[in-house]
């Protein structure tokens, strides 16, 4: 078992994390970030800013080149391959490329997340229908995922991430292909999960999602934290030294 290294309130804790892809592409550079249990955080920034890499580091799809990543009590950088499932069961991720099985039905694609934790068949069916109902996909239960539109595929991916009611949901551009009404449905689902205690990290370009949000917004630029907008900051309080330092970075990417 992995030792619990984070304080109980911190669900995600990144300390001076860097990620370099071979040969020398600096995707993330010295990022330090703490997300508390039950918090909602929006990650924003231009394409290539490092949002997806950050989510991949949190879900242990990548290992950091430097620094420490602590998620739900697991020191991700030291997590053994055979124990990764313990982390992944606590983290639901909605991928930018959806990662659906096109030959399998919508129900199968959602059920797969519940099957690996040995949920009973009746539970899986009930939960799948419930999620599809919430995301306005009830009629697509038996449709093959490959036959869906991109917006529908995106919702199936979100439904799968939410299926087990995980402690953390990482959503990479969850509303990129959705209209306003469906976006609202997706956000309702996220908020509902958050009310039950799920921590949410949402990477998005869509400013409408966080424009008037009371939640923390972190802007990434060239692999570094560019700004941190919190309720406290909106109330006029000062930003941390780390955040200020980030503001002082050159706007231009040097890689």
């Amino acid at each position: 078992m992995n030792p619990e290294t984070s304080p109980p309130s911190a669900m995600i804790d990144l300390i001076k994390v860097s990620k370099v892809y071979p040969p020398d592409v600096q995707a993330i550079s010295d990022i330090s970030l703490t997300v508390s249990r039950g918090e909602i955080v929006f990650l924003t920034g231009k394409s290539g800013a490092g949002k997806t890499t950050l989510l991949r580091l949190i879900s242990r799809m990548e290992k950091p080149t430097k620094g420490m990543v602590d998620v739900a009590g697991f020191d991700v950088s030291k997590l053994l391959q055979r124990d990764i499932h313990l982390l992944r069961r606590k983290v639901g991720m909605a991928y930018q490329d959806f990662k659906l099985l096109p030959e399998r039905t919508v129900a199968d694609n959602i059920a797969i997340a519940m099957e690996v934790v040995y949920r009973s068949r009746p539970f899986i069916e009930k939960r799948t229908r419930e999620l599809l109902e919430q995301l306005d996909l009830s009629k697509k239960y038996h449709t093959r995922a490959g036959e869906l539109s991109r917006g529908e595929q995106q919702r199936v991916s979100i439904a799968r991430a939410a299926a087990n009611g995980p402690e953390i949901i990482l959503a990479d551009e969850p509303t990129g292909n959705l209209d306003a009404e469906t976006t609202s449905r997706v956000m309702d689902l996220f908020m509902q999960l958050n009310r039950k205690g799920t921590t949410l990290v949402i990477a998005t370009h869509d400013r409408s999602l966080f424009q008037d949000t009371p939640h923390r917004v972190i802007e990434l630029r060239c692999g570094r934290v560019r700004s941190a907008q919190t309720e406290e900051q909106e109330d006029g309080k000062e930003m941390s030294n780390d955040t200020l330092a980030c503001f002082q970075e050159d706007d231009r990417c040097d890689f």
Binding site: Q81, L86, K99, V116
Partner: protein, 295 residues
């Protein structure tokens, strides 16, 4: 329990999805098992026939004159010192004549005027009932030939040598077909599993991402290999049973085969062959998983 139910469901679904390659693998495994078990059936029956014929096997040592009791004792001592000898029997000239007469049955009149001591005295040597004795008979016969007063030693030399050569040939064929069985089951199954692994790469990646354990991912492939072995071997044994029944029906009646004790395998042998094929296929699957499934 739930783990087993889930992986069994996955295994069955995978096998149905790739039913074409599954059929090819099953056919190959069945054929290999059929070839191996066919020759093994012939071999085991030949061994059995050999044992049966061993009952009648004896070496007849013809003597130039009927030995007196002290000489008989001397012969008995020299022959019985060999472990391979069960017992010996002295046949005098008169006794030999009587036997011959009995064998002639209604045609005894041909012996009219023939002296009752025209046949030579002999010693009948009965070896112990092991097939192994067949290979040693020649050497034993050579030894008997060196005893004083021995004219000739007769033991159906040609038949025994041919039978022994046949047994040796069968042993070679069984080794070869056994090797074929091992190679096909291991390599063909490993190849099928490898293809399945490649074709399901996307699903395997997803399973890892949603928190499946390594055993959850590996076990269905291992079971798939074992099922291929079990079903393939069962089909092969079924085909052999059909072939056996067909042959016995075809040769039913006054043919040689009905006179010989030709029988199908005992059920324990059938289960052993199926079990070994299942294990071999599981091993083939395991090697493919180790080489190509990188978790």
């Amino acid at each position: 329990m739930r783990f087993l139910a889930v992986v069994l469901r996955h295994t069955c679904r995978n096998m149905l999805l790739t039913w074409k390659s599954q059929c090819m693998t099953l056919f190959t495994v069945s054929l290999s098992v059929l070839i191996f078990s066919f020759f093994y059936l012939i071999y085991s029956n030949a061994l059995h026939i050999g044992e049966e014929l061993d009952d009648d096997l004896r070496l007849v040592v013809y003597l130039d004159e009927e030995p007196a009791p002290p000489l008989q004792e001397e012969y008995r001592r020299k022959i019985l010192k060999f472990d391979q000898v069960d017992h010996i029997e002295f046949i005098g000239r008169e006794q030999a004549y009587q036997r011959f007469e009995q064998q002639l049955g209604e045609n005894t009149d041909v012996l009219t005027g023939v002296p009752t001591d025209f046949l030579p005295a002999s010693i009948e040597v009965y070896p112990v009932r092991t097939l192994d004795s067949l290979s040693r008979i020649k050497r034993f016969s050579d030894y008997l030939q060196t005893l004083p007063g021995v004219i000739k030693v007769q033991y159906g030399k040609e038949w025994i040598e041919r039978f022994y050569a046949f047994i040796q040939l069968m042993q070679v064929i069984i080794l070869l077909s056994g090797s074929l069985l091992i190679m096909t089951t291991t390599f063909v199954v490993a190849h099928t599993i490898r293809l399945t692994l490649f074709s399901r790469q996307q699903e395997l990646e997803l399973l890892r991402l949603v928190g499946a354990t390594n055993n959850y991912i590996r076990t269905p492939f291992l079971l798939e290999g074992a099922f291929q072995g079990f079903i393939g071997a069962s089909c092969g044994m079924g085909a052999l049973l059909l072939l056996f029944n067909w042959i016995t029906l075809q040769f039913a009646g006054p043919a040689t085969i009905t006179l010989l004790p030709f029988a199908f395998f005992h059920w324990t042998v059938v289960l052993s062959i199926i079990g070994i094929a299942t294990l071999l296929c599981a091993a083939g699957s395991f090697s493919a998983i180790r080489r190509f499934l990188h978790l």
